[in-house]
Every structure is written in C-alpha cells, then in structure tokens.
C-alpha cells in the first residue's frame, strides 16, 4: 500500500526514526509526568492515566516535532531560516526551536490566534506575518515567503520528521506505563491534522500493539472520522467553528492519513460544552491548565465516547496555551 514514488518526507516514518528523534530532543524537551486521580478512577470505574504534555516547553507537544526537524537542517538552510504556518502551538514550537539552534523563524499566524500564542511566539524572537483565517490562504502566503527568501518550510504535521518527533510522546508514555507494570486498553489523542496521533500510533504499534488508539476531534471538525470511514481524505464544512483553535484543520494530512488509516481503531467527537467541563475537571483534579484543543481526549472519556468501565485508558492533554482571561473565566466556575 505504501507509494514508493512519493518524496521521502511524505512517507511514514519507521519506528526507529522515533527512537532517533527521542535522542535528539532529550536535552531540550521535558519528560512530562503521567498523572492519576483516585477520584476520577472511582467515578469512571476505570484506571485513567493522564499525560500532562501541557507542561512541555512552549506549552505543547509541538516542540518535539519542531526541534526534531530543525536539528536536521544543514548549514546553508540554517543560514537562511525557516517558515511555518500555525494557529499558535506549532508557531511557538518552531520559534523556540529556531532560537535554540540559532536560526531565523518566520511564522504565518491567523489574526484571531489567542493572544497568549501570539505573545508566546514573539518572545522567542520570531518574525510574525498575520493573515485572515477565513479569507486568505496561509499556504499561498507561506509559499511566497519560501520563494522570496529561500526559507525552509516546517509543516505543522505532514512531514515524517515532524511525525517522528511527535511520536516520542508515544514512546515516553509507553515506557512510563511499563514502569508501572500497566498496559492501556485504549489511548485517546486529540486530532487536528493527525500528526501527534500518527506518531503515537506508530510508537504503540511497536511497544504496545494490543492498545486501541483512537482519535478525538471537535464536533464539526470530524474530517478524520469521516475520512477513516470513507477510506479517503475528506474535508470539513468551511462554516464550522469550535473553541478548540488548535484543532481547526480542514482535512487530514497526506502522510498522517496514510498512517492513521492503517493504525487507528476509530475516531470520536466532543462538543465545546464537553470541552469546557473537561478543562474544569483537569484543573479540579490535577491543577492542570489545559487549552480547549488540548483536553478533547479527556472530554471523550468523561462523556463515555468509548467503553470506559473496567478498562485502563490513557489520554494525552496536549497543550496549555490559553489566554489568562479566558482561563480565569473558566476556573471561576470550577466545581469544588
């Protein structure tokens, strides 16, 4: 099934590339903790493990892929710099990775990106080019920058080095579970373009093949669920809206879907209201700050989108980049 004539970077990474990425990122990324709540376990009648990846540097898993990619630039590429488009988490990760390895980063960001993500990107010294998410084409803007300035594109998910970097989270999680003599019945991961879940599924196929890996998407952004069902990449309605800004992707990636169609057990959806409740639960139970797009996997478990009772389940909380005022309003009504 694997098309051998595709460019190298658009072919799925081998498991060994995830291990190599883990070595590259070890000095700059945090081994984020795996947490449990007796209260949640009791309430769900299950064993729930929460991977607190919002504590990663730059506030999301995106640094894993960005640093893995940028650390493989050659000297000439490093001298010219990189360009990326992103609603914010990939932006901050590329900006930070560029600062770490000493190259210039240009980030193409939507005008309605959360202020925390704009500020976070700026403070890592990146140059920001803004565009209107609903009327302008970020890909066209990015390609113009590549042509004009010779910048290297760092795609948010559709690149085997980005996927391999994201997959290091899967390795880390599988090893943390092994230390506890635990194995997951199911692993739930939020899904936008599908890079994180493709990397995690590749890692789990090697390290924990009996675990069902499931994608979680916001309602209205169920392109991966429909694409899995149809066997081909489908696109979301352009009128869809969600508070999960990090997951507003219109269609699965080419490489990521090639991986996900083979390795995922399915995909489920959650509503914005379910996301808000899950954010409160994450703060109540773990004192974790999680952004809307980062909490969808927990929301799916809390709302029994999969069979929960009696099972051992893992969820990844993928990011923590949310504006203080938005988070404050959320927590003010938390349910203690």
């Amino acid at each position: 099934m694997m098309p051998a004539d595709k460019p190298w970077h658009l072919q799925p990474p081998e498991y060994s590339e995830i291990e190599a990425a883990a070595v590259r990122i070890a000095a700059v990324c945090v081994e984020t903790p795996l947490l449990e709540s007796a209260t949640l376990n009791q309430r769900l009648g299950a064993r729930l493990f929460v991977k607190a990846e919002g504590l990663q540097r730059t506030g999301s898993f995106k640094l894993r892929g960005a640093f893995n990619r940028l650390s493989q630039l050659d000297a000439a590429e490093r001298a010219r710099g990189v360009v990326a488009y992103s609603s914010g988490n990939h932006a901050q990760a590329v900006a930070a990775a560029a600062q770490m390895i000493g190259t210039h980063a240009v980030i193409v960001m939507p005008t309605d990106a959360p202020l925390a993500k704009l500020a976070g990107t700026r403070r890592f010294g990146a140059e920001i080019v803004q565009y209107d998410r609903y009327t302008e084409d970020r890909v066209a803007i990015t390609e113009r920058l590549m042509q004009q300035r010779g910048l290297v594109l760092v795609p948010p998910f559709d690149d085997r080095r980005i996927i391999a970097g994201a997959g290091t989270l899967g390795c880390e999680l599988a090893l943390q579970l092994r230390e506890r003599d635990m194995a997951l019945d199911a692993l739930l991961v939020g899904c936008g373009g599908g890079g994180l879940i493709a990397g995690c599924a590749t890692a789990f196929a090697q390290l924990s093949p009996a675990t069902a890996v499931m994608a979680v998407e916001p309602l209205g952004f169920d392109d991966t669920a429909r694409s899995l069902a149809a066997g081909q990449r489908l696109t979301n309605d352009t009128g869809a809206r969600t508070i999960c800004d990090a997951l507003m992707v219109s269609t699965p990636g080419e490489v990521t879907f090639e991986i996900n169609r083979r390795l995922l057990s399915g995909a489920v959806q959650v509503s914005d209201a379910e996301v808000i409740t899950a954010m409160r639960v994450a703060w109540d139970e773990f004192r974790l700050t999680v952004e809307p797009g980062g909490v969808v996997a927990l929301a799916a478990v809390l709302n029994q989108r999969i069979s929960v009772a009696g099972n051992t389940i893992g969820v990844v909380l993928t990011g923590s980049n949310i504006d203080p005022k938005a988070f404050s309003a959320m927590i003010a009504t938390a349910g203690m």
Copy 2:
C-alpha cells in the same frame, strides 16, 4: 550536640531513612517534573530549575511524609486510626494516605482553611473536626481525640518519619539534576514548621553538599530566620497575618530546628505582594497553578533575596491547593 535521650521519633532521620522512604512511597507518589524557562533564565541572568511539586497527588509534597508514616503503622494502630491537625495540605495527605492503606483518619482543621483544602480532605473520606485558629488550641483538641479514641497522632512536621518522607523530594531533585549534569549553587525551599527543608537539607548534605540550602518564609512568620540567628527556637507575633496559609506556623519544630540549625545557610522573607507576582509568573511561564505558600521560594529568587546572577538555583513549588475563585482573580491580571 544530638541529645541521645530524646524519644526516637524526635531525633533527626539518617540519610538512609530517606532512601527507605523513597522505596515505600514509590508506588503512590508522582515523580514531579523539573522545569526551566528560557525567559526566566534570561531575565535573571541565571539558570533556574523549578520543581513542580504541586503536581504531587493531593496537590502538595505532604503526601510523601504522610504515606511514609502511615505505611509504618502496626496492625493494632491501623485498626484504631490516625489523627492530624493541619491548615489543609497535611490534612489532605493524611486523609489520602489513610484511604490508601485502609485506616480511619480524623483531621483537626481551622475554620478559615481554604475551601479547596476542606473539600479535598473530605473527599478522601476523612472525618473533619473544625476549630478557630485564633482562639482555640489545636494541640489540646488533638490530644483529647487521641485519649478518647486511641488514635495515632501524625504530626505535620516534627517526626523523623515525616521529615524522611519529605526528604524524598530532595533525593528526587538531586537525581534529576544529576541526569542533566547540573549542580545547584543554592536550593530555596518554603518553610513553615521546617519539615520539608529539613528533609531536603539532609538529602542534599549527602548528595550535593556544596549546595547552599536556604529557607524562605512569609514576612511576619520569620521564626526560623530569627531562631537560626539566636541559636534557639523563637516564636512569631500572634497578630501576624499572611496569604500563605500553608506556612502560618508559630515556631520551628523541635526536630526540624535541630536539623535546620546545622544544615541551612540562612533564611529570607517575602511579602504577600511578592507572592502574588510570583504566582502570576509561575502561571505565565509554566502554566502551573501554585498556592501562595507554595510559591515563596520563587518569589525570593525573583526579588533577588539571594545572589542570583551567574548562579544555578533550584526552587521547590510545594503546593497547588487554592480555591478556584482566588486563583481565577489572580490569573485574570496575569501579565501576558
């Protein structure tokens, strides 16, 4: 100097007791992450490592000591149960540890304890007895419960098993630094009764003897600073107030001061305003929820209470148990 005629539990723990405690607690406690912020490092001209212990189960370091103590109860003691007095973090820790090992816990708590701490204690199934912090004597209330019901007292800090348990945080931190080939010039730890810092200082005396270990207290609660200077245990003015509810202790412990007078390099103070700013910085830089008493060590570094520039410094963020409304108000004005 060590009075050999003191009861065993009022003598300082050996380093080996911390190692034994680490084995006992391994299955129930989280290895909390050690975090860094490039922004803070740049701003301080230093290398700052932050131990995010607020992510510990029950939301503070207290579970380390409580579980170490309760797991050493004999069968008869376990059948009768335990009693503890605490403003909240020790309360939750003893309640949770009691639930884990299957014994009954009675907790004596002040009426003005944060709601999050009262609710947290209740949900672990403990029986709560409330008293007025400013007019009633919690020790007398506790002793009556011990006599009437044969309960075993679990003191908040003045017991070698509690100190050894708290010291596991020091071991864990020293090993995390060693993995990074780093050694601290200074370690700053918040200080109420002095149990955590006594345990950490004992661990560091063994594992990193060149590190200066410094206590941080809220203004008005500088009993450890004055006691260190005087060479004897002194008491705070009963009229003092602070938002650091976890550190409102009137005088150093007997065992803890015996350790701290030998091993600490000094003690510094921070104001409530400095604490609030540090809470905002912890959220801005790490998206960590830290309670006021948990953030004093970071506040001391941000306000240059010690020599910062060019040094490698560690701070422990000790707890995260704060009411949602109070935290929400704090974050609403965070400085992004």
